[in-house]
């Protein structure tokens, strides 16, 4: 008798949990493939194409499909790689070469004396941050530049430099104090 009671209880439990799971599957169903979106949010959006994909979104989509390695994002560096690996629940892979640290943000600056107005950089810029037209010198919209460096190699006269953002009152940050109790003599 007690054996039957046990079986019945377990059957009942199994049924209840099965129903619960079934309900949850319907109720909390997520449409589409959110994985690519989530990964895309973590990518630095420089659209630099250093990963071999034409932009951040395509790379995110490839990652979501499992077609790409997690360690390809150079501007994001190791932190981004680890985040992606966590999202995809795969083993983190070491970054290639010197790209372990995320690079500090740089801006492209065109030396307007040298620029010959070839429009090659305009074509290369993934975010349309360079303005100008044929035979007119070009200039970079500082606000929009992502620092992807794609314009640097295409310039036939090497007139594009990557420079650090200049500190000013608006972007100045209090430095972090040196950690207490971690001092060594």
């Amino acid at each position: 008798m007690s054996m039957f009671a046990g079986i019945l209880i377990f059957l009942g439990l199994a049924l209840a949990f099965g129903l619960l799971l079934g309900y949850a599957a319907v109720r909390f169903r997520i449409e589409g493939n959110p994985l690519a979106e989530i990964i895309d949010k973590k990518l630095p959006q420089t659209q630099c194409g250093q990963c071999g994909y034409p932009g951040c979104k395509p790379y995110a989509e490839a990652l979501a499909k499992g077609e790409a390695e997690v360690n390809l994002c150079i501007p994001g560096g190791e932190p981004t790689m680890i985040e992606i690996a966590e999202i995809l629940q795969v083993e983190p892979k070491p970054m290639q070469a010197e790209a372990t640290e995320p690079k500090p943000k740089m801006l492209a600056v065109i030396d307007e004396d040298i620029c010959i107005g070839c429009v090659l950089c305009i074509k290369a810029c993934p975010v349309d941050a360079i303005i100008g037209t044929t035979k007119m010198m070009h200039t970079v919209i500082e606000k929009e530049c992502t620092g992807c460096e794609l314009c640097v190699p295409v310039c036939p006269v090497d007139c594009i430099d990557m420079v650090m953002e200049k500190p000013n009152l608006k972007n100045w940050k209090w430095p972090e104090p040196k950690a207490a109790a971690e001092r060594t003599e």
């Binding site: 007139c159 009152l169 104090p177 207490a180």
Partner: protein, 639 residues
């Protein structure tokens, strides 16, 4: 009566248990530092010190920097506007004395960062040329808009420390302000400039407050002064007599002068987080700001000077001064006879919220209430946090500084935000009481800056993404359009061919052909007509002939004008030889070709483009050379 008794009782308890003083005020926590206010009150108020140079930063306020409207070398008069406000939140700068503009250049600002920003430097002369009624007032402002314009023109900003342009904090409509609070609670140690201002200029402060109250139809005007300024209270009481201003003595506790704290103390209302005080109908004005308003509405004088306390343990004769804006700190400090010598950084502001300046010759700006010369003491090294909770007891906004610290140190910025990091007013109470001497406030400042940057970065990332997507979409669209056009064209050609098969092709097609095709055909026509032959080697010509499918490719033998051509060839060869000497092998061939093409005097498009290409190449080479040279120079200079 009851309240008085209550206060007396607490004061009695405080004589044996000092921290009982915390029960005297409404807000949580607070600290009781050594005030040292008597130091600077011993000397009389100084006026009219004119330094050798006046350095006027374009950014003395919150918002956008002002734009200079004078030239170097120009003579300016006292009160003359030398920099006009930028669009949006900004304030103009006026000349504090007559003199010559000797420079508009980067100077180190009195700012915690120690960065250099553009400043206008005036060399004052002795002439004291002043513009009377520089703001051009004929009557007191009658409308709010007029008043706000005047405030903007006068360059008046919050002089209590924040430097928020005053016009921007006032509402556009009357009756929006319920409570106007006059802030006379100067709670920082050492500082006495507001105290002295109230002692000496109480009627002016009161007149401005009454004017604002009248204009905005304010319900209630309250003036809060800390109990440790009896003379100021007396002066203000006299000035406030028979007016609607209610004078309140508030407990002496740091940070009583904070906007949120004084509001809570005087009207018992907490300013909700994320909201401005005006949202709950409260406007607070510092006494110095009010005095500047009086000067603007009554005399038409813009803001060119302010009361500054020059004090500190390193000065023999600390004093207060009505200093011209732009006066360098070190000159003012020298007047107070520093002892020992001034070889340490000065502080701007009080010891609780001030900052060390990067260089002691930074100028007095609109928000400089105090210059503090405290010789450096051997400070205790920070130790590990023992979670004693003194900081939480002292925090005037009831934060948990010590938990914030753990998260800020671990860079867990989302956690710090959950713990309401952005409600921190950076008053320094927590660091003041920390037995482990941890620079808590600096951790918070750093964390705040990091969070702001992260948010900014996220915004930029979002923009970059949108721009990338937009570009992709555009490229895609262009491609489709091009394909569509091509398809349409092909269809049209086919259609025409079907419609009029007898009509000669070129003539029929001509109007619909593209410019390039036209050019090619024109070239062909000319070729035929003039019997001039293009060089067989000419690639473009070949291409053109290859393109033309309707007719068989013509191989044109070189026959006519032989003499002429030979001569030209000679010349070209000579020139080519000369070019060869300079140019690389790769540029040789096209150059030769061009020469030949030119020599053949066939003025067709391909040869034109070739010559253009040649020019471009030359320009490119020149540019490359320039760039290389520049690079080299840069390297040299960096080395």
């Amino acid at each position: 009566m009851n309240i008085r008794l209550h206060q007396k009782l607490i004061n009695l308890i405080a004589s044996i248990y000092p921290m009982a003083k915390r029960w005297l005020h409404q807000f949580h926590g607070g600290v009781f530092p050594k005030y040292n206010k008597s130091l600077s009150l011993r000397q009389p108020l100084r006026t009219s010190y004119v330094p050798k140079q006046l350095i006027l930063p374009l950014q003395q306020h919150m918002g956008e920097a002002a734009l200079p409207c004078v030239e170097v070398g120009e003579q300016v008069k006292k009160f003359q506007m030398i920099a006009q406000p930028a669009k949006g939140l900004s304030a103009p700068v006026h000349a504090p004395a007559s003199g010559k503009i000797i420079a508009i250049e980067q100077r180190i600002l009195p700012h915690a960062s120690g960065l250099a920003e553009p400043c206008i430097v005036i060399e004052p002369d002795a002439k004291q040329d002043a513009i009377e009624n520089a703001l051009g007032i004929t009557h007191k402002p009658k409308t709010i808009a007029e008043f706000k314009q005047l405030l903007l023109n006068a360059g008046i900003v919050g002089m209590g420390g924040a430097g928020f342009p005053t016009f921007a904090k006032l509402p556009d409509q009357p009756k929006k302000i319920k409570h106007l609070i006059i802030n006379g609670a100067e709670c920082e140690p050492f500082i006495t400039c507001d105290d002295l201002l109230m002692q000496t200029h109480a009627p002016e402060i009161v007149r401005a407050a009454l004017f604002v109250a009248e204009l905005f139809d304010v319900e209630q005007v309250i003036c809060g002064i800390e109990t440790n300024k009896p003379q100021a209270i007396e002066a203000m009481r006299q000035a406030c007599e028979d007016t609607r201003i209610r004078l309140e003595e508030v407990a002496t506790v740091y940070p009583m002068g904070g906007q949120k704290q004084l509001t809570q103390e005087l009207i018992g209302v907490e300013i909700p987080s994320q909201l401005h005080s005006i949202d709950i109908g409260v406007v607070m004005m510092n006494v110095a700001t009010l005095r500047a308003i009086t000067q603007a509405i009554e005399l038409g004088q813009p803001l060119i000077s302010r009361f500054v306390t020059v004090s500190g343990m390193g000065l023999k004769k600390p004093y207060n001064i009505e200093a011209l804006l732009g006066t360098p700190f070190n000159e003012l400090v020298e007047l107070a006879q520093p002892e020992p010598k001034l070889n340490y950084p000065l502080l701007m502001g009080g010891p609780m919220m001030g900052f060390a300046v990067a260089h002691n010759d930074v100028p007095v700006i609109k928000t400089t209430n105090c210059i503090l010369a405290n010789p450096p003491e051997t400070s205790d090294e920070p130790m590990a946090c023992i979670r004693c909770g003194e900081c939480a007891e002292a925090c005037p906004v009831s934060l948990l500084p010590q938990q914030l610290y753990w998260h800020a140190r671990a860079h867990e910025y989302d956690k710090t935000e959950q713990l309401k990091l952005f409600d921190c007013i950076e008053c320094g109470c927590c660091s003041f009481v920390c037995p482990s001497h941890i620079p808590l406030v600096q951790y918070y400042r750093h964390a705040k800056a990091e969070i702001r940057e992260i948010k900014q970065q996220a915004k930029l990332t979002e923009i970059a993404k949108q721009r990338f997507d937009a570009r992709e979409a555009r490229l895609e669209r262009d491609k489709h359009e091009r394909e569509a056009k091509l398809a349409a064209k092909k269809a049209a050609v086919k259609q025409q061919a079907a419609d009029a098969p007898k009509v000669e092709k070129t003539a029929a097609d001509a109007p619909k052909l593209s410019a390039r095709e036209k050019a090619i055909q024109a070239a062909k026509a000319r070729q035929k007509a003039s019997q001039t032959t293009a060089n067989e080697k000419d690639a473009t010509a070949k291409k053109a002939s290859r393109k033309d499918n309707s007719k068989p490719a013509e191989t044109a033998p070189a026959q006519s004008a032989n003499d002429k051509r030979q001569a030209a060839m000679q010349a070209a060869k000579a020139r080519a030889a000369a070019l060869k000497a300079q140019k690389t092998a790769s540029t040789e061939t096209p150059a030769n070709l061009t020469e030949q093409a030119q020599a053949s005097s066939v003025e067709d498009t391909p040869s034109n483009s070739a010559s253009a290409e040649d020019k471009r190449k030359a320009a490119m080479d020149a540019a490359k050379a320039k760039a290389a040279e520049r690079k080299k120079r840069q390297q040299e200079s960096s080395q």
